[in-house]
């Protein structure tokens, strides 16, 4: 199981980033939607703190993931894939990268504008992006954070749908190579 990606499959590190970030994003979305419904208790404060900590974790992982991606190649697209599909796929991936960077950053921005504390898992204090309360940008940052989240949900529907379409309809290895890495040699010509 190679660490680096190859012509035919994703490396172990890219796959680890992909699935770890995927799990964190799902957890983060659920926590985010649930926490705003909570009554005002210490539990709510703790869940908000957890949401912030997970968000910062995602931001750090995405930055590491992008840095790593820049050092290696990506596997080739399936043979015979139409040009518009390649463009659509790569455009969607680019949009997903932008969103998973922008959503934690907008959350951090909102948190800063609201002058709320930000301590990563109660351990690492992170600076404010606004230098204190910013009543003008606070509602805008929140709106942006929420709008980008729902845009992410929409794009993830396309992303997951496309992966399943490749797997079950096209019967290619697009999903397999992200799930298991390099496909086993199965005799078919690429």
């Amino acid at each position: 199981m190679p660490l680096r990606s190859t012509e035919t499959g994703w490396g172990a590190l890219v796959r680890a980033f992909h699935w770890l970030i995927a799990v964190l994003i799902i957890a983060q979305g659920v926590i985010g939607l649930a926490m705003v419904q909570m009554g005002l208790t210490p539990a709510k404060v703790r869940v908000f703190a957890l949401h912030k900590s997970i968000g910062i974790t995602i931001l750090a992982l995405v930055l590491l993931r992008i840095a790593w991606r820049l050092t290696e190649r990506r596997p080739a697209d399936p043979v015979g894939m139409p040009r518009w599909q390649r463009h659509a796929a790569h455009g969607l991936h680019l949009a997903l990268y932008v969103l998973i960077l922008a959503i934690p950053l907008s959350g951090w921005w909102f948190n800063s504008a609201a002058n709320a504390p930000l301590v990563w898992f109660g351990w690492l204090k992170l600076p404010s992006l606004t230098g204190g309360l910013d009543p003008v940008w606070k509602p805008r940052a929140l709106l942006l954070h929420q709008a980008l989240f729902w845009l992410l949900v929409a794009l993830l529907v396309l992303h997951v749908g496309a992966a399943l379409w490749h797997h079950f309809r096209q019967r290619d290895d697009v999903l397999r190579r992200m799930a298991f890495g390099s496909r086993k040699y199965s005799g078919d010509a690429r």
Binding site: T41, P42, V45, N115, A116, P117, L118, K125, L133
Partner: protein, 185 residues
């Protein structure tokens, strides 16, 4: 005529009485602050009460007649975080629906061993009255003066955030109060 006589009598009495009374000061609200520092989720923050009135009688050479009487409008709380302010004014904390005001009045002044002036008094907050000592720093500035007072309080002593909010790792128990008063004659 009677009125005039009355005013004169008061003025004369006041003039006669004044040597025995500490100097009374007017507080300039525009240049005075009542602030405190506490910690929330391990992060220190500062809040202030934007509205308070203070009757200050003070002469550093006549501590026996010094007196501070301060009324604080708790609803004027501002910690630069509207969610936190909203929580703090609610029933679990200041409970301003029942206790919109706090009051501090001194009972005695003395010089501590380190030479600093200490004002002993009673703070009534959220229906709880407790002794509180202020450390007093008084700096005359021409005919005006600057008065800085500090005190260390414990929020749980006054029932601020008991029960589910008593966890001091989330909201620190210690509260450092700092009053900065610009005084005019």
């Amino acid at each position: 005529m009677t009125k005039w006589f009355g005013y004169s009598a008061i003025a004369i009495l006041a003039a006669l009485a004044s040597p025995a009374m500490a100097k009374s000061w007017q507080v300039d609200p525009a240049h005075s602050t009542l602030a405190f520092t506490n910690s929330y989720q391990g992060v220190e923050y500062t809040g202030r009460f934007r509205r308070f009135t203070a009757a200050i009688d003070y002469d550093p050479n006549d501590l026996a007649h010094a007196k501070f009487d301060v009324a604080i409008d708790i609803t004027s709380l501002d910690t630069q975080n509207s969610e936190r302010d909203h929580t703090a004014l609610g029933a679990d904390f200041f409970d301003t629906a029942k206790f919109p005001r706090a009051h501090f009045v001194t009972t005695a002044f003395h010089k501590a061993a380190n030479g600093k002036v200490v004002a002993e008094g009673v703070l009534t907050l959220r229906g709880v009255s407790k002794p509180v000592a202020l450390t007093v720093s008084f700096k005359p500035d021409g005919s005006a003066a600057v008065l800085d007072v500090t005190a260390q309080l414990k929020r749980l002593d006054f029932g601020l955030g008991t029960g589910q909010w008593a966890d001091t790792s989330m909201i620190g128990d210690g509260v450092a109060v700092h009053g900065h008063l610009s005084l005019k004659p």
